[in-house]
Amino acid sequence: MNHIDLIIPVIAPLLAAAISLSVGWRTVTKWANSLAAVTILGTGLLFAFGTRSRHVELFGGLLRSDPLSSLLLIAIGAVGSLVTVSSVDYIERELSVGATDRSDARQYATLVPLFLTTMVLVVLSNNLGLIWIAIEATTITTAFLVGHHRTRLSLEATWKYVVICSFGITLAFLGTVLLYFASVHSGSSPADALNLNTLVRRAGRMDKTVTRLAMGMLLIGFGTKAGLFPFHTWLADAHSQAPAPISGLMSGILLSVAFTVVLRLKVVGDAALGVGYVRNSLLIVGIATLTIAVSLMVSQRDLKRLLAYSSLEQMGFIAVASAAGTELAFVGVLMVIVGNALAKTVLFIASGQLQSIRHSTLLEDLNGVMESSRLLGVSMMIGLVGLVGLPPFALFVGELSIARAMVNANLVLPLLVTLLLLLVGFVSLIRHLGGMLLGPRTADEATWKARPSVYVALTLGLSASLFVGLVGSPFSNLVSSAAAVVAR
């Protein structure tokens, strides 16, 4: 049976991009972009909770949909919707103060749905080569979004972003080639030698040394895009210089999408090499990432960089968690992904508002938020609570599940190290953000008013996180079956 509907979430944003490219920044563009994101969300929900089988394929296995990809489609759609809605306000505000011009607005409106397309493609691809192409394409589509402001700093950030990411991703291509070599030599037909299912099936017969080399390259290569050590260095710069909604998209979802590629590869690696190799690599890379992230959070002075490093921290955390490899661990990982996506998007959207008012992202300039706007302050406060892993939000459930899984997998020592590092991150976040939100206001200004759309986005994001964190089914069933896809 042909499931042509799999390409809907790929096509919809492409159409939106085409519209934006052709008509520029207009009302129809704004609607089209939001609609495209909502379509992704809708198809995700449909694939996840619809009546048909949850595992389907298209184009001979080039694309497929399973619970994991459905979950990520939902996440992309949700974050994308929040971002496209709040982008309207963001761009309008920039246009009104002359921070951007109409052609850049057109570029922005074109690239955002393209970016969504590439992420959807990563999620839906079942072919390692295609995944690689799509991941590299996320760099291409976001390069000019990061450089949207055309300032010296954003140029610097873009350059680093493109060069470091391409470097890392190129290594992943090398890994892909090597894996292809191993796969072909184990008897796969060249046509579907890179099909993930084939890879898993053939894993036992693949050359160990080559596969080890390939897995190593793939891990650090795709790890680049997930912000993992040693290619994490682009992340903070890009996230802090990108327009706030784009930071939200990148921090909230792009990293996680890239990370699920690592998860899918882990299945191949485990099948080919036994659990030790990938597990140890993930532990080392994860703890290194965590250490770096929290170290840079401790005395951070820039709000957006702080949030970026917090994403890095979460990525390190879920890398360590994935080492446990059980279904419960992946449940935790996915809950962290979801919780982080929602909280981070909310905080980035809100920080975009702050930035556009105070024209700075330095924490010292952003003081007294609660005094200036109670609503913004409270939503950031709740976002903060959600971000640091306190209940009743999704991240808490994630951390709890991960802790359970790691104890179960006899990874108590890494768990303790990880939690201590997370504690440093926790303290840094409440210290910096708490001070920013609650501290006295030095700027002399009237109370702020943001557009209702922003508040809608904030409220929706927070309530979704609350719902996911507190109430079980049907969402938790989806998460369970998504976790089962990559679990041993």
């Binding site: 080569g129 350059w159 470097f167 291509f173 090398l174 040394t209």
Partner: protein, 220 residues
Amino acid sequence: MSASEFTTLLDLVASVLLLSSVIIVWRRDYGAMIKLLAVQGVAVGGIPLVSGIYLKDLQLVVVGMMVILLRGGVLPWVLSRRLADETAGSRETKPLVNTTSALFVTALLVMVGYLVTHPMLRRASTPETRAIPAAFAVILIGVFLLVSRKRALSQGIGFLVMDNGIDAVAFLATLGVPAIIEIGASFDLLLVLAILVILTGRMHAKFKDTDLDALSELRD
């Protein structure tokens, strides 16, 4: 084409690959580097072309032509367009590592390339796979260029050398990944290079220089 001719041709290709990389490390003149890059690109494309002719596989021949067009023509051309606008000089003036050391490192990298690829040779020893160490060394030399050069343009060159190496490995090891992926990857590469070139242009406009050491304002 006989088997021995085929082997000779592949050996030639491998030598060209390796030699061009070494000379790129040696030279500091961008113009020369870009020309060498074009030569290297042709050599990479030569692998599937030669194999295609040898195996009488039309698809491989087409792929080879495409690769030669892209890596030997389009990409160097994009870079040289950039070079034409460069006013800060057409030489890499102050690399992080001086030429002598760089050559020494290159020698080391070639050895590493051989060591790393050793297991692949053990697995299947064909004329193609025997050339893999050279291709692998090219990758490592590309990485070295990327790390040790400070100007924006030479980073682009390093990146391309590395990518050439990977593509060469792909062709040598498996006669190329499936065509759709090869096409997609090449398209990606082209776009990345285009972006880099555009960014170099913007950088030039902003900083009047493309020394990447100037790019260290974003830090904690």
